[in-house]
Symmetry: D2
Subunit: 148 residues, 4 copies
Amino acid sequence: MSIQKSPPPTRTDFVAFEEVHSRWNDNDVYGHINNVVYYAFFDTAVNRYLIEHHVLDIVNDQTIGLVVETQCQYFASIVYPDLIHVGLKVVHLGNSSVKYAVAVFKNDEDVACALGSFVHVYVDRSSNKPTAIPQNVREVLQQLLKVS
Amino acid sequence: MSIQKSPPPTRTDFVAFEEVHSRWNDNDVYGHINNVVYYAFFDTAVNRYLIEHHVLDIVNDQTIGLVVETQCQYFASIVYPDLIHVGLKVVHLGNSSVKYAVAVFKNDEDVACALGSFVHVYVDRSSNKPTAIPQNVREVLQQLLKVS
Amino acid sequence: MSIQKSPPPTRTDFVAFEEVHSRWNDNDVYGHINNVVYYAFFDTAVNRYLIEHHVLDIVNDQTIGLVVETQCQYFASIVYPDLIHVGLKVVHLGNSSVKYAVAVFKNDEDVACALGSFVHVYVDRSSNKPTAIPQNVREVLQQLLKVS
Amino acid sequence: MSIQKSPPPTRTDFVAFEEVHSRWNDNDVYGHINNVVYYAFFDTAVNRYLIEHHVLDIVNDQTIGLVVETQCQYFASIVYPDLIHVGLKVVHLGNSSVKYAVAVFKNDEDVACALGSFVHVYVDRSSNKPTAIPQNVREVLQQLLKVS
């Protein structure tokens, strides 16, 4: 097994940021925010970004993004009441799927505490069958592609 | 049973406010933020207020506040990604216990979506026995007493 | 303020029981299951009881129970990985609303660690207007009325 | 990007199983258990297995397992009130780290709904420095190695 981790990214590695408040019960018995909660930060940040850019309507959209794969590496602990900043960028934009790189920054720190990925496959809400990413969504996602 | 609810309070009924971001998974299957989550808002807001006022140190305090009673009435639904503002005031300050009134406001609305209460009893962390509220905590709590 | 608590109830005070596993992250930084989580136990137990008795279909029901009020008193701490047994009974059955008493028992203990209440108002899913409790639901709820 | 997923494993691919009840609020607005919650299942199952085998004492252990990497692929949806069975095996056992494969099975199904991995690095609780996995823990982990 390799647990050689990639070096933690910094803020300049990401295109957009969403703030998420930590909560008292995010801390677990070891005094740090539990590993599970990072995924709630990712979920919250990605979907809020889409909502704020008017390409996600939870109630009415016929095409929705289902999560098919997620992953996270943890570099440094975070603790309630830290303010979380989730860095976002798109690292692959396919016909029906999009893969985000997501990172957790705390307060004013420039080096990430965690780095993850998050894959949405767009499906028809009724049939659950994969479908092309709608054009308005694609345009927003293209703006999240990091040009290095 | 009386389900005659009190009329929802407004922002002027509270002394202090703490913001809490809602999260994607706070929404339940009926499309609104689940009733359980409001208590996470209360917990997060009360403790963050104490931390910000330098009278709660989660790791080192020998006297800690244990929750012995909570309650909530729900007036109107809230939905992720609403920004939550928790209104706080102290409605009873005893020797070892404090009762807060807490309310959930969403975004810029002036009328509360929910009204709750939250009782901390201060105990010695090792023995779990009730103890007097420390003087520095008491001074902060007194500032939350609503003078009407 | 009275924090004179009622004496903790015992198992014979309840009509039905639902098991719920505790989870690692239910424990908070003080080493006990966080106060918020008890409400997740209540929610989970009440709705599962209704599903198991074939009177709750989350996807298709046109009449749904909305939570309008909840409350909990905490008597003794619980800790992951305790197995939780939620005691249930109906303490008021109105035209459109039902009030449950709910209690948290851990493992094989006979005395409750917490006692709460939980009020559902039945509403039409589209209009959100209160409506009479459907007859099949009412029959199940009547079996939860505790005859002392 | 490859979203070629591995074929879902079956129960015979795992060595041990832990049950976890789903909860009402695990379901998100799309009517299925939210992707974040699977990681709570993993966390709960791995640690409960260790506790049941007497090699994890949350309060007193000086050497604790910190989560440094997790991952999950989602094959099929699960819905509250499904009963979850988490399959466990150890896929790498190093000096200070252990990597588990974990899978989510629902009710009586033999094919997994999700497959994940979960890496603990053992550290000294005070210094947070990696340390050898304690011998009693190692013996339990060795029994989770899958001999194919």
